[in-house]
C-alpha cells in the first residue's frame, strides 16, 4: 500500500507543477506588450485561457490524487528501475556536450553505447564496435549523401 501512497504524492506534485506552469504562463502573458489596435482579442487572449485551464486542471488533478479518486496507477505496480534512466540521461547529456567540440561521430557513439548499456547490454566490445561503425556510416551517409552539415570535431582531418 506504501507504493500507492508514494504514487499519489507524486501525482499530486505533478498536478501542482502543471498549475505552476499555468501561473507562469499567466505572468509571462501579462508582460506581452499589446498595441491598442488589437486590444480586443490580441495575442494575450488565448494564452490567458490556456493559463487558466492549466491552473484549474492541475489543481483538480492534484486534488483527485490526494483524495485517492484518481484511477489506479497501473504503471506503479512494478517499481521503477532508476539505473537505466541515469545511464541514458548520461548518454544524452554527454552527446549534447560533445557534439560540437568532439564532433558527431564521437558524440553519437557515446550516446549509442550509453543507451545500450542502460538497456542492460553488457557486451561492451560488440556494443562499442557497433556504436563506432554506426556513427561513422551515418556521418558519411548524411554529410556526403544528403549534404547535411554535421560537426566533424576532432576527427575533421580523418573523415
Amino acid at each position: 500500500m506504501d507504493r500507492n501512497r508514494v504514487g499519489a504524492a507524486a501525482e499530486a506534485l505533478l498536478g501542482l507543477a502543471v498549475a505552476a506552469l499555468g501561473a507562469f504562463i499567466a505572468v509571462e502573458t501579462s508582460t506581452i506588450t499589446v498595441s491598442p489596435v488589437y486590444a480586443k482579442v490580441g495575442p494575450q487572449a488565448i494564452p490567458y485561457i490556456v493559463a487558466g485551464a492549466l491552473i484549474l486542471l492541475g489543481l483538480l488533478f492534484a486534488g483527485a490524487a490526494l483524495r485517492g479518486t484518481a484511477p489506479p496507477d497501473a504503471a506503479g505496480r512494478t517499481p521503477t528501475d532508476w539505473f537505466p534512466l541515469v545511464a541514458i540521461s548520461v548518454g544524452l547529456v554527454a552527446q549534447m556536450l560533445l557534439l560540437e567540440p568532439a564532433g558527431f561521430v564521437i558524440a553519437a557513439a557515446v550516446l549509442f553505447f550509453c543507451v545500450a548499456f542502460g538497456f542492460g547490454s553488457r557486451r561492451y566490445v560488440r556494443d562499442a564496435a557497433i556504436a563506432v561503425v554506426l556513427a561513422v556510416v551515418v556521418y558519411i551517409g548524411f554529410t556526403r549523401g544528403l549534404n547535411l552539415q554535421l560537426p566533424a570535431g576532432v576527427l575533421a582531418g580523418v573523415l
Binding site: 507524486a10 501525482e11 502543471v18 506552469l21 504562463i25 509571462e28 506588450t33 499589446v34 498595441s35 488589437y38 480586443k40 482579442v41 490580441g42 495575442p43 487572449a45 488565448i46 494564452p47 490556456v50 485551464a53 492549466l54 486542471l57 483538480l60 488533478f61 483527485a64 484511477p71 497501473a74 504503471a75 512494478t78 521503477t80 528501475d81 532508476w82 537505466p84 534512466l85 541514458i88 544524452l92 547529456v93 552527446q95 549534447m96 557534439l99 560540437e100 553519437a108 550516446l111 549509442f112 553505447f113 543507451v115 545500450a116 548499456f117 542502460g118 538497456f119 547490454s121 556494443d127 557497433i130 556504436a131 554506426l134 556513427a135 551515418v138 548524411f142 544528403l146 547535411l148 552539415q149
Partner: protein, 493 residues
C-alpha cells in the same frame, strides 16, 4: 460519379514509375517501423520531414500515407509474435494473437491479420473516396467560427477518448497548446514566451516535440520498466494458408471491424485504439464459442486488425477535407502539409487535386503491395524482431537526436529535446496520453488564428460562436463530450 473521375485522374498520378517507387518505399518503411517496437509512424514521419522538405509534395505524401498504412500492417506481426504491440492500434491483437502463436497457430494469426487489414484498408479507402467530396462540399460553407468550433470538438473528443481519464487527456492537450504558443504571434508579430532566447522566436519545432515525446520519453520509460525489457519471440508455426474453418471464422469479424474502425477514425473521435477495443469485445460477445477467447480465438485477431486499418483510412477524411487531425500521426501529417505551404481543407481538393487524388489512389495500390509484403514475405520481416533491444533503442536515439540537431544545426534544440523527453517520460509513467499533446501543438495555433479571425469579423462580438447554427451545434457536441463521461461516473458511484 465525380469522385470516380477524380479517382481515375488520381490513378494516372499514382501509377507513374516514380510515384509507385515512393509508395513502395513508404509501405516498406512503414512495415519495418510497424514491426520494430519503440518507433512508430508519427515519430518516423516527423524525422523524415526535414529530409523530404525539397521533395515534390505529391511524392512525399504518397510515401507518408503508405508508411501510415504499412505501420498498421507491420505492428500486428509484433503483437502476435512478441506479445508487445508494435503500435497502440495493435494492443488488442496481442491478446489472442500471441496465444495463437504460443499454440503453434502463429501463421494463421498473421494471415488473418494481413488479409483482414487488406480488406479493411481497401473498403476504408473506398469509403474515403466517396465520402471526401461530400464533406468538402459541406466544408466550403464553413467560416472561421465554424472551423474554430470544429477544432474545439476535435480537442475535446481526443482528450476524452484517449488515456486513463478525461483530466489526464485535457492536461496533455493544454500542455501541447502551451508549447504551440511559443514563438512569434502570426497576426501581430509579437514575440510570446521566448523567455529572451532568440532561438525560441521561431517556436518549438514539431519535430523536436515528436522526437522528445515519442523517442526520448519512450526510451526512458521502456528502460525503466524491467517487465518491458525482455520479451520472447515466438517462431512462426503452421501454414500461412488459412483453413476453410479459419476463413469462416474470420470474414465476419473483418467486415464488422471495418465498419467500427472507419467511423471512429473519420469522426474526430480519437484515432485507432478505441475501435480495436470495441471490435475485440464485439467479437467476444458474438463468437459462436466465446470460451475460446483467452485461449487464442482467431476472431479476436481478425476484428481488431481490420478495425485499426479502417480507422487509418477514416482518419484521412477529416485530415484531408477539413485540415483536422484526429491522431498523433495525422497531426504530424498536417505539419507536413504546412511545411509545403499547403493547408488541408476543402480548398486543397480544388487547388491541389492532383496531390489529393494521387494520394488517395496510391492508398489502393499501397494496400496491394502491403498484402504481398506482409503475407508471403512475413518470414523476412520477422528477422527484424531479432535485433536486440539495447541496440535498437541505441539506434533510435542516435537517429532521433541527429534529426533534431540537423533541423537548424543548433545544440539549443537538443536541450529543448531533453526537456521534452523528460516530459514524455513523466507522461508515459503517469499514464497521460501523448496524442492530445501533439494534436494541441499542431492544431492550437490554427484554432487561435480562426478564433481571432472570427472575432475580428464580428468586431469583437463573442456571440458569433453560438449564433452561427453549425458552430453552435459543434460546440454543444464538444460540451457533451466533456459532460457525458462525468455524468456517467457520478451515476456509477
Amino acid at each position: 460519379m465525380q469522385a470516380l473521375n477524380a479517382l481515375f485522374d488520381g490513378f494516372a498520378t499514382a501509377l507513374t514509375w516514380v510515384n509507385l517507387g515512393w509508395a513502395f518505399l513508404g509501405v516498406t518503411l512503414g512495415t519495418a517501423i510497424g514491426i520494430l517496437p519503440g518507433i512508430g509512424p508519427a515519430l518516423t514521419i516527423a524525422l523524415l520531414l526535414p529530409v523530404t522538405a525539397h521533395l515534390d509534395p505529391t511524392a512525399a505524401f504518397i510515401m507518408f500515407a503508405g508508411l501510415y498504412y504499412g505501420a498498421m500492417y507491420g505492428s500486428s506481426t509484433t503483437s502476435i509474435l512478441l506479445n508487445t504491440p508494435g503500435e497502440s492500434g495493435s494492443i488488442m491483437t496481442a491478446i489472442e494473437g500471441n496465444l495463437m502463436a504460443r499454440q503453434g497457430r502463429g501463421a494463421a494469426a498473421l494471415a488473418t491479420a494481413a488479409i483482414g487489414s487488406f480488406i479493411a484498408g481497401t473498403i476504408g479507402t473506398v469509403l474515403l473516396t466517396f465520402l471526401a467530396p461530400v464533406v468538402v462540399k459541406l466544408a466550403l460553407r464553413f467560416g472561421p467560427a465554424e472551423y474554430f468550433a470544429l477544432m474545439i470538438l476535435a480537442f475535446t473528443t481526443v482528450s476524452a477518448m484517449l488515456g486513463a481519464s478525461l483530466l489526464r487527456g485535457l492536461i496533455s492537450l493544454f500542455l501541447g497548446i502551451a508549447i504551440g504558443l511559443v514563438g512569434t504571434d502570426k497576426l501581430t508579430g509579437q514575440a510570446r514566451f521566448s523567455l529572451g532566447y532568440l532561438e525560441l522566436l521561431g517556436g518549438v519545432d514539431v519535430v523536436v516535440v515528436a522526437v522528445g515525446l515519442f523517442a526520448v520519453g519512450e526510451a526512458l520509460y521502456v528502460a525503466s520498466r524491467p517487465e518491458l525489457r525482455n520479451a520472447e519471440i515466438i517462431p512462426i508455426k503452421g501454414s500461412l494458408m488459412m483453413t476453410r474453418e479459419e476463413w469462416r471464422r474470420s470474414w465476419k469479424p473483418w467486415l464488422r471491424g471495418t465498419f467500427l474502425g472507419f467511423p471512429f477514425g473519420a469522426l474526430p473521435a480519437g484515432g485507432t485504439e478505441i475501435p480495436t477495443f470495441l471490435s475485440y469485445f464485439t467479437e467476444k460477445k458474438l463468437a459462436r464459442r466465446p470460451e475460446d477467447f483467452g485461449k487464442g480465438a482467431i476472431e479476436g485477431v481478425a476484428g481488431p486488425e481490420a478495425a485499426n486499418n479502417a480507422a487509418v483510412a477514416g482518419v484521412l477524411v477529416p485530415l484531408l477535407t477539413l485540415g483536422l487531425p484526429t491522431s498523433a500521426t495525422a497531426a504530424i501529417l498536417l505539419a507536413a502539409f504546412q511545411q509545403y505551404g499547403l493547408q488541408p481543407g476543402p480548398l486543397l481538393f480544388v487547388s491541389n487535386s492532383t496531390l489529393v487524388w494521387g494520394l488517395i489512389a496510391s492508398l489502393y495500390i499501397g494496400n496491394v503491395m502491403l498484402l504481398v509484403l506482409n503475407l508471403p514475405l512475413v518470414g523476412l520481416w520477422v528477422r527484424l524482431l531479432a535485433i536486440p533491444q539495447p541496440l535498437l533503442y541505441g539506434g533510435i536515439l542516435v537517429f532521433s537526436t541527429l534529426g533534431v540537431y540537423s533541423l537548424n544545426g543548433r545544440v539549443f534544440d537538443l536541450i529543448i529535446l531533453y526537456v521534452l523527453g523528460v516530459l514524455g517520460y513523466l507522461m508515459r509513467r503517469f499514464e497521460f496520453p501523448v496524442a492530445p499533446c501533439i494534436i494541441g501543438l499542431i492544431l492550437g495555433p490554427l484554432a487561435e488564428e480562426q478564433f481571432r479571425r472570427a472575432l475580428s469579423i464580428s468586431q469583437g462580438d463573442w456571440s458569433v460562436f453560438v449564433t452561427h447554427p453549425i458552430s453552435a451545434a459543434l460546440l454543444v457536441l464538444a460540451a457533451l463530450c466533456l459532460v457525458v463521461p462525468l455524468a456517467f461516473r457520478l451515476r456509477r458511484g
